[in-house]
Point group: C2
Chain length 236, copies 2
DNA sequence: CGGCATTTGTTCGTATGTATC
DNA sequence: AGATACATACGAACAAATGCC
């Protein structure tokens, strides 16, 4: 399939990012865009919807479609950016050390914490992220073994998600994310340079496959002074 | 206008929340839904897209549309929920006290903090949120006076957004949100029951009108033990 | 394996409603 | 009032994935 609406979306997005159309300006009307791209109105509107959802444009009934400032949104496209992702995007790569790789059985306290099914076996992973000489983030992962078979330390050091989606051909459906501030644990103090801080910023991820079964729990524990989380929300 | 797609969306959402259709089950096919609601396929699909975006259902090409577990998402519909919003939704209302209402000029440090234009006048508002006998959240707002004229303490105690959208007929476009952990300030300690905590979870909001002008900066400072932030993300 | 029905995904053309100027 | 522009809705066709026989 050609996915014409995506082509139009990409083309308009490029015009905006390259500055061919400037913030505040009006895009050509939908009917004009239909002529330009030789597409139907529905297809053009679908492209515009995509742009609006990502914050590049906004449309006003009866007036037109306008281009928004895009310096704000360039780094928040896709929804959510943690410090980790932001640092990686800016080129300051973390070095990552896998400090623990084990198999564990989900017992009751672990079930309560991870929401994974009781009695099942999971891979348990600790990964320490170092930036500018300091150990700043501790990632703790639990993957259900039966859903992610054959996971190795090498794969973990590379990209687990690539492995899941491309090698195992599993489709990731959705994730629930929770941010809280918690007391620093003994593990935090052992694995990280927590300095004087006794609290940690914690991002908890509950990740589900398309069929609604949870296969992962991940906890990302950040030293509070280096934690930042941004998002971009549209009204309506 | 009737907004048929919204009616269908609401009806299907209710069936899911009431348990008429259970998680894991397949919804009737799109053509069947067309017959049931007497609507076209495009309209039905639009309703289904809304449901998918909010995490109630997911659709698989060639198979059907399936209902997801919804206990997880019931409180995250709409994208983002702070502790404040969650507590309000659960009926545990906050009592709110406006502890400061003033006009200030945006000077350089304030410009840096709020991103509002230098030299302009803004309403400055402190609001303290009390839950279960403790002062837990300090909201600090700055509204540009020229864009929100006639704001009073009474309006502030009620709903500022209702005033902006309905009385002033201004349209709010989008918001950039940042979550960080910061040192507790003297103001925090004066206004809140911070207990032994010396850090605060801070949610900063930069809010823009549809035309791209910023009109508000809000900082919501939470005692870390009572802070929670959740979101729900779909893949692709 | 091919063939066929079912189901979702994409696109088109058209008509009508409603806000803005 | 009329022109323009976006919003909603309908109907039809074909593409692509799935499952069954």
């Amino acid at each position: 399939m050609t996915k014409r609406y995506r082509e139009i979306y990409e083309d308009l997005k490029n015009s905006i990012l390259e500055g061919t159309v400037s913030p505040g300006e009006k895009l050509p009307s939908e009917t004009d865009l239909c002529k330009r791209y030789g597409a139907s109105r529905g297809t053009v509107r679908r492209a515009l919807e995509l742009l609006a959802k990502e914050g590049f444009v906004y449309s006003l009934h009866g007036k037109g479609v306008f281009v928004l400032e895009n310096d704000l949104i360039s780094f928040s496209v896709g929804g959510l950016v943690s410090f980790k992702e932001a640092a990686q995007a800016s080129g300051k790569a973390f070095s990552t050390v896998v400090s623990r790789f084990a198999e564990v059985t989900i017992d009751e306290p672990l079930q309560k914490k991870t929401n994974l099914p009781l009695g099942k076996t999971a891979y348990q992973l600790f990964r320490v992220r170092k930036l500018e000489g300091e150990n700043i983030i501790l990632d703790i992962n639990y993957f259900l073994k039966e859903l992610v078979p054959g996971l190795t330390e090498e794969i973990a050091a590379a990209s687990i998600y690539e492995y899941i989606e491309e090698t195992l051909n599993q489709k990731i459906g959705f994730a629930k994310r929770v941010i809280q501030v918690e007391k620093a644990t003994r593990t935090d103090k052992e694995q990280l340079d927590v300095k004087q801080y006794n609290l940690m910023a914690v991002v908890k991820n509950f990740v589900y496959l398309y069929d609604g079964t949870q296969f992962e729990y991940t906890e990302s524990r950040h030293r509070p002074d280096r934690f930042i989380f941004t998002d971009f929300a549209r009204r309506r």
